[in-house]
Symmetry: C2
Subunit: 431 residues, 2 copies
């Protein structure tokens, strides 16, 4: 393997001129965020390792097995961020934003995350996530609103092969009681559990519930439920949320095996799963929930928060056959004008026209150094140019150019000084 001509295993190149899928989803995400009043946050690609140990949890798969770790030249342990919620909270605390901003703080992020996993369809070791965080909420309506936000990302594409799964994983105290009960219960069935699940028994028995194989076993399905340990407040709170879902006609399924893989979640959690065969084995498109104790755990005050994240690479797979997405991709490539000097000795003239167009917001491309008109037209076709501007000796003398409309195939002679207004008119723009 030539390491100079191969990307690292589990990573991707996105060359938008050939496949603009990621850019399109990023633009949709930014537009939806704007509609919902969310502003972007950009944090470093790497963080102190301790941040994720404390937030995601030392016994989580992510922290135990999946982090890209390194040290800087002062031997400080750093990791490529495996997720962003912890980074957002670190930034909120470090910059004292709970004091500076109107609450709730509504912020979103888009960027690469890193997990050293076995590369699989729709999830690489470097993968792109879009996520939103609502920090300092004092109403369960913020939770409903964020679920609607998540759903709207699918509705743009009229994508309806999904199911919204929700669960009440209660507060820390209740979860502790439940985990104790689960440990006790599962230890009776230890020999029936997979090796992986046996390892989890002591450290993280919740993950036995959503294990792909063990989760299907009868005794796992019959394991104690968290609702047996929940307080009245916890049950009421969850009920209030589902009541609003009902009012707003949002369909959901309560799934009591839904526990999420990160320690910081509490109370209301949700996942949107694709039901399409395109994502078999990896159906989760969107995951999120509340994390009311995370800021406190990181050294700030207790603050109600809710958020979600979408794996964009997986969403691209889910949208493979989507007509709306396909159409968007087709429309992506285009340039207003290709400039075609009949001989390369007029390249300088072409450059001047090109500068003038760009100063008037008209995009233009020129293939310099050619004497062949058909090369310009081939180029214009490949670049999906709307117009081709042609000129040679004769046109330059007369102070005109020929402008060919690539759609109608019609060609007109236009005075040099009128090129911009002619094109504005043709493009339907206002001067």
């Amino acid at each position: 393997m030539l390491t100079t001509t191969t990307k690292p295993r589990g990573t991707s190149d996105y060359f938008y001129q050939l496949d603009p899928s990621l850019d399109l989803l990023i633009n949709f995400a930014k537009n939806l965020s704007r509609l919902n009043g969310y502003y972007e946050i950009v944090t470093p690609i790497f963080e102190h390792k301790e941040l994720f140990v404390r937030s995601v949890g030392s016994t989580s798969d992510i922290v135990e097995k999946e982090m890209y770790e390194f040290v800087d030249k002062n031997n400080r342990p750093l990791v490529l961020r495996p997720e962003m919620t912890a980074s957002v909270c670190r930034c909120i605390i470090e910059n004292n934003l709970l004091m500076k901003m109107a609450l709730p703080i509504k912020t979103f992020y888009i960027g690469p995350m890193f997990r050293y996993e076995r590369p699989q369809s729709g999830r690489s070791r470097q993968f792109y996530q879009f996520g939103v965080e609502c920090i300092g909420s004092n109403s369960y309506f913020d939770i409903v609103e964020i679920v609607i936000f998540a759903l709207s990302f699918l509705q743009i594409f009229h994508y309806n092969e999904y199911v919204l799964k929700i669960n009440n994983i209660c507060g820390c105290e209740t979860r502790k009681k439940w985990i104790t009960a689960l440990k006790k219960y599962f230890s009776k069935y230890k020999e029936k559990l997979s090796i992986d699940s046996q390892k989890r028994l002591d450290k993280n028995p919740l993950r036995i519930l959503d294990d792909k194989i063990d989760g299907e076993k009868d005794f796992v399905k019959k394991a104690p439920k968290i609702t047996n340990f929940a307080t009245k407040d916890e049950i009421d709170y969850f009920k209030k949320i589902t009541d609003i879902f009902d009012q707003q006609k949002i369909k959901y399924v309560i799934d009591d095996t839904l526990v999420r893989g990160l320690d910081y979640y509490c109370n209301f959690v949700f996942e949107i799963e694709s039901t399409s065969s395109l994502l078999k084995g990896q159906p989760t498109l969107i995951g999120g929930g509340q994390y009311n104790t995370l800021l406190k755990k990181l050294g700030s005050e207790s603050t109600n928060c809710v958020g979600f994240a979408i794996g964009l690479d997986r969403l691209i797979v889910a949208l493979t056959n989507n007509e709306i997405f396909k159409k968007q991709k087709e429309m992506y490539l285009n340039v207003d004008v290709v400039i075609a000097p009949l001989e390369s000795k007029f390249d300088s003239y072409a450059l001047s026209i090109s500068n003038c167009l760009k100063q008037n917001a008209i995009s233009s491309l020129t293939k310099f150094g050619t004497n062949k008109l058909e090369k310009h037209f081939k180029y214009a076709q490949k670049q999906k140019a709307k117009f081709v501007i042609i000129f040679g000796e004769k046109e330059i003398k007369e102070n005109v150019v020929l402008i060919k409309d690539q759609k109608t195939r019609q060609q007109e002679k236009i005075e040099l000084k009128n090129i911009v207004s002619y094109l504005y008119n043709k493009l339907g723009w206002k001067k």
Copy 2:
């Protein structure tokens, strides 16, 4: 130091709601790229170390001292990318794009780069770069066009505190002869050179020329010039470019100490330096040039290429007092509507209105869980909302809302079914 509440040294958080500078520059860069027919390329954050050793050069400061190195779990040496030109070329080769695309390939990138340097004003260890690459060019007009592209990024802001420096560093053969002559020449002055320069003498004597201290010494200024070794073709080629600059009225200075710090450059190189006191000691805003042998060095065929890169963090510093940039920043924060239910028991009603607005592309925010109208207005002010929609028991019964224009302070009673058309009209949008 609490590692959970501090970002790693030399990195930054960008919270756009408070300071949107980076986002604004990214948007300008994307818009200029569109005008110039450049499409984005997104490559992994890390690459095989060997890629940069082979391209940037094993004796360059970047490769010798500044890379964040780590190994994956199979002990493959990886590094966080210190620059992007090598990654772009790797991607071009790996995906066989020289065959697939119309030439020249015009592509741009924006994203974080990583160099383990002493953090300094406008340059962090993680810093943001925008860069463009024109690959497979067969005309020197592409070089002029790319310099115009670079200049236009400053012209948007009417920024004119800069100087365009250019130089002819010729091809490999000529440079080899020159380097041999420089080694011979400088070894006569060895004891007059700084310790750093003495180390460079054998490996990279070019860097003595642009060393901040030694570069000012008389004997360094009198060192042999590359033009003494240049072929006629090399001199003619450079002359053709400066002739077009003259024709297009582009001002430049020929600086024969301009060598750039990366091995892959050849022939025409340029830098745009700020003359503002804001960037004292670190004046380079934009740097670029030709790299005609890089693709071959990485295993592909010899291909003429030219590109440039802009450090966005440093450009932000340069634009500190720029009026156009300031105005853009002021206009960044805004939301169309804040929805203000008079009592929190109407939050569900607010949610329905908010959903309807968003489905019609009107952005809206609601502060849920409050019974105080002044809180809604304070929130609307902080979020720079254009309109506030108010309703209580009475309005709900009558199927109306009150809409207050935050600019004119006027308030009107609007029927529920007319909210969207009323706002479209007020916002000057077409239905």
